[in-house]
Symmetry: C2
Subunit: 309 residues, 2 copies
């Protein structure tokens, strides 16, 4: 019998209990899944960073903490955590992000808003260039950035990617480092932010970097609110190269109703919907990792605690 503690806000238990039990059965795991255990009886913790469990010291026999979220910034710096930590890399989360990013890139590429807003009887025959003439840059080439880049490449967009460490991805022009960031921004007709939230990525888009974008550039942020200096973005919309921004994530969520982003005519706020973990597929990821751990295999999606993701 494997004891698995479900440590998340109580409303998540209703969402996850059945899919987790189904996944454990699918993987042939004999699991006792509960929301409470004596800490020293727990083998694995299924974890949401906003749960009540913040001190991992008493979980003396716990073999791994399996995060329910893709983001680990709420746990990675926890000094009481000595166990291996795995991020959630959910098929549903990745797929949802690919759909959202592809949709909003095409929305800009096709100039859809002109027609969605312009139902006034005027026949405006603007035909957009083909995708091959619209350059997309993605900052962040992890699971999500790579999947979005590949989907956009398949549709014909020339895709440039940038990441901290140099990557090689078929069909994507990859840059890294500070010089690479300038090159990646310089060609970003459409810029997509999919960097993790770490101290090093905070304010990646600031007054200096925004100025490197080509005139008429579009910013799409389904990554993290902290990647952008909000005031610098507003200035770049009013007096700089940025034509429009669609923002799904913010420093404070829900975004307060009086925030200037809600009221700027060339900003679209979406309410952190670009992607979310889907319980059925996420539960399979957790079952697979427990299964691997029990067999002595390395965990999937293990977090590098030094890098912070």
């Amino acid at each position: 019998m494997i004891n698995v503690l479900f440590a998340a806000r109580s409303e998540r238990w209703g969402t996850y209990e059945a899919p987790l039990k189904a996944a454990f059965e699918e993987y042939g795991l004999d699991v006792d899944l509960r929301t409470d255990f004596a800490p020293d009886e727990v083998d694995y913790i299924v974890y949401a960073p906003n749960s009540d469990v913040q001190d991992f010291t008493p979980y003396t026999r716990c073999k791994a903490v399996l995060n329910l979220w893709a983001g680990v910034e709420g746990i990675v710096g926890n000094q009481t955590l000595t166990q291996p930590l795995a991020r959630m890399v959910d098929y549903g989360l990745t797929q949802g992000m690919v759909e959202w990013v592809t949709g909003h890139v095409l929305r800009y590429h096709l100039g859809m808003d002109l027609h969605i807003h312009g139902q006034d009887g005027e026949w405006r025959t603007y035909v957009p260039p083909l995708a091959e003439d619209r350059r997309v840059t993605i900052l962040g080439l992890g699971e999500l950035g790579t999947a979005c880049g590949s989907a956009l490449t398949t549709l014909g967009f020339p895709v440039t990617g940038w990441s901290r460490s140099q990557k090689e991805i078929t069909g994507i022009t990859c840059f890294s480092g500070p010089d690479g960031l300038s090159q990646a921004l310089d060609r970003a007709d459409i810029l997509v932010l999919l960097l993790p939230k770490t101290p090093a990525t905070e304010n990646t888009l600031n007054a200096e970097t925004l100025a490197l974008l080509p005139d008429g550039a579009v910013v799409i942020n389904p990554g993290r609110g902290q990647l952008i200096d909000d005031d610098a973005l507003l200035a770049a919309l009013d007096d700089g190269p940025v034509q429009h921004a669609t923002l799904d994530v913010f420093r404070v969520e829900p975004l307060p109703a009086d925030h200037p982003f809600w009221h700027h005519p060339r900003v679209t706020v979406t309410p952190h919907i670009a992607s979310e973990t889907r319980p059925a597929s996420a539960s399979r990821v957790i079952a697979e990792n427990i299964s691997r751990s029990e067999a002595g295999d390395p965990l999937l999606h293990l977090v590098n605690r030094d890098a912070g993701y």
Copy 2:
């Protein structure tokens, strides 16, 4: 020397002269390209159905008519035409259509309009289902319908297609005939019309067929205006299953400013921009066909005069 007559409205000559000459040179063809010849000197006619040439009788040595448009309804019934007729199947036209259709399918799938219109400070956390739970049906499985279906399949949408004659296309569930049409419409969460305009396809969407759509269905028409009975669609929007329609083509274009489509809150009119022929790639198609004809090979994209496309 091959004599090629360019028979289209005069403003098209400026667009096509240079790309056609470049394509002929690329294909090693020794062509005299002009907008006027004595009819009995013409070897090939590059043709737009709205040109002044409507009587083909005097073009006694003409080996083929090469249409500049994808649509051939303006020439296919011309009784004076005895020469082979080729449709335009342009990479750029197909690619542009794939981009437009994919974009508008994702716009509906993601519920984008809710946010594009709803910048009022209210945090509306509607997360759409994944593409795998949104069924798309495409009526018409020619070059364009097949390309759009394949792109949507790659993104994860389950795609059903319907065509006059039964097709087999990898990844697409294909139906044909009247019974097949009912099955295809019954599962159309999003319906895309890409049928050719023929007497048989007129009013394919009428009161009877619209009633077969599932509740909340969306209609996207980048095909031909005549595929839809306009009044029946308006009724299906008001009292039937259709939630929204995006229409790019109309019986009369530009769509008159007083047409109810412009004023219906759940119709988006776009001004026949879903796709257009791109001169550079279209010119290569014409050069390739002349090259094939001169070598005695069959023309590409030959029109079946009986079927009408």
